[in-house]
């Protein structure tokens, strides 16, 4: 990876890719994908709640983005971030409607799908995390289990535990801060 692409802003990288056109600026493309893939994957995880679907979203969105940049079909490459977010929203809507098929992606882009293989997601030390969860107070542990295992909102957790939603959010906030501190992260 050349150092110069690492110092460029996202928009400047996109402009370089667009300027290269069919000659391809591999370094700029790789750097842009390296930066955007985790964000697209997070969007996918948040809206689809499925790691495989999030992985497919990364490939679909980044391939379409690179293709449009190379072809000069993206009118304002310096606004690449807004474009990618818009693509994420559109593809997730398609997936929800059931009108998106992985086969369509493969048929359009073939093996190049592998070119934007997303980086491995951040993974925490499982033993350390289990010990940190164990160290929480009883209510805190229950609230994080209901929140992250059972995918419950604060209102739902409150209903199940006979608490107020505000109380649940306070407990949840404290529990997450303690977990982050225990795992060695920034607890603020």
């Amino acid at each position: 990876m050349s150092l110069d692409v690492e110092t460029l802003e996202d928009g400047a990288l996109a402009c370089r890719i667009a300027a290269a056109g069919p000659r391809l600026d591999a370094a700029a493309e790789a750097e842009l994908c390296r930066r955007l893939a985790p964000r697209v994957r997070l969007y996918g995880l948040r809206h689809l709640r499925d790691p495989h679907a999030a992985h497919d979203l990364v490939q679909q969105v980044l391939l379409m983005t690179l293709e449009r940049l190379r072809d000069g079909r993206l009118r304002e490459p310096e606004r690449i971030v807004s474009f990618v977010l818009g693509m994420c929203r559109m593809v997730v809507l398609e997936i929800r409607r059931g009108s998106w098929r992985r086969e369509k992606l493969l048929a359009t882009y073939g093996d190049t799908a592998e070119a934007v293989e997303p980086p491995e997601p951040l993974a925490l030390d499982a033993h350390k995390l289990a010990a940190c969860v164990e160290a929480l107070a009883e209510r805190e542990r229950t609230v994080v289990v209901l929140t992250f295992f059972a995918d419950k909102s604060g209102d739902e957790v409150a209903r199940e535990l006979g608490l107020t939603a505000g109380n649940v959010r306070v407990i949840r906030h404290r529990a997450i801060a303690r977990l982050r501190g225990c795992m060695g992260g920034d607890a603020t």
Binding site: L85, V143, L146, E160
Partner: protein, 191 residues
């Protein structure tokens, strides 16, 4: 952005609310717009996602012990977890075990919870070697309307454990002191 620290980072609490789907769409949009253009905040969302994923995996693998709720238990079943349940009335004793193919064991401790403000639990663990471990868990979460406290012990720890007797004494606690709600005994033998 190239990874520099963010001048105006999104509050972590707002990121949590976003991640668990508590925000209206109008409030989600600016958060997404921000972290898509901000490597620093994207990294914080990724940290949150890793925490959520790690906790999911820990519960599925039986590494977590916690008091849970009936809807959470149903979620575990929907996710294909094999769960062994023991339902105990106050004063009851049950012979119990965990098999290699069980993902979890849940103890349903029935108790008169109406009007109770706080529940503590006194635990005692006896391996029959003359040394009894005792500890107190304070302020257990519970839904009084169900008349039960659902206890999920660590399946990982149980599978490694030799035969033992585990006793739970639930206490109602308020300003005037504490009173027993029930005592429950699990006589565990390895499968």
């Amino acid at each position: 952005m190239t990874g520099a620290r963010c001048a105006e980072p999104i509050e972590f609490e707002a990121l949590v609310a976003y991640w668990v789907g508590e925000l209206p769409a109008a409030a989600e949009a600016p958060i997404e717009q921000h972290f898509f253009g901000c490597a620093h905040c994207a990294r914080r969302v990724e940290e949150l996602a890793a925490l959520a994923s790690g906790i999911r995996a820990a519960v599925r693998s039986g590494a977590v012990q916690a008091v849970i709720t009936q809807p959470c238990l149903e979620t575990m079943r929907r996710q294909g977890m094999r769960i062994r349940e023991y339902r105990l009335a106050p004063g009851e004793r049950v012979a119990c075990t965990i098999r290699a193919d069980d993902d979890a064991v849940v103890g349903r401790l029935q108790a008169p919870l109406a009007g109770v403000k706080r529940v503590d639990a006194l635990h005692s663990l006896d391996f029959g070697d003359g040394q009894v471990q005792q500890w107190r868990a304070e302020d257990l979460p519970f839904d009084a309307s169900t008349g039960e406290v659902l206890s999920l012990p660590s399946a990982v720890a149980l599978k490694r454990s030799p035969a033992h007797t585990f006793c739970v004494r639930l206490l109602a606690v308020d300003e005037s002191g504490e009173r027993p709600l029930g005592e429950y005994t699990f006589a565990h033998t390895p499968s």
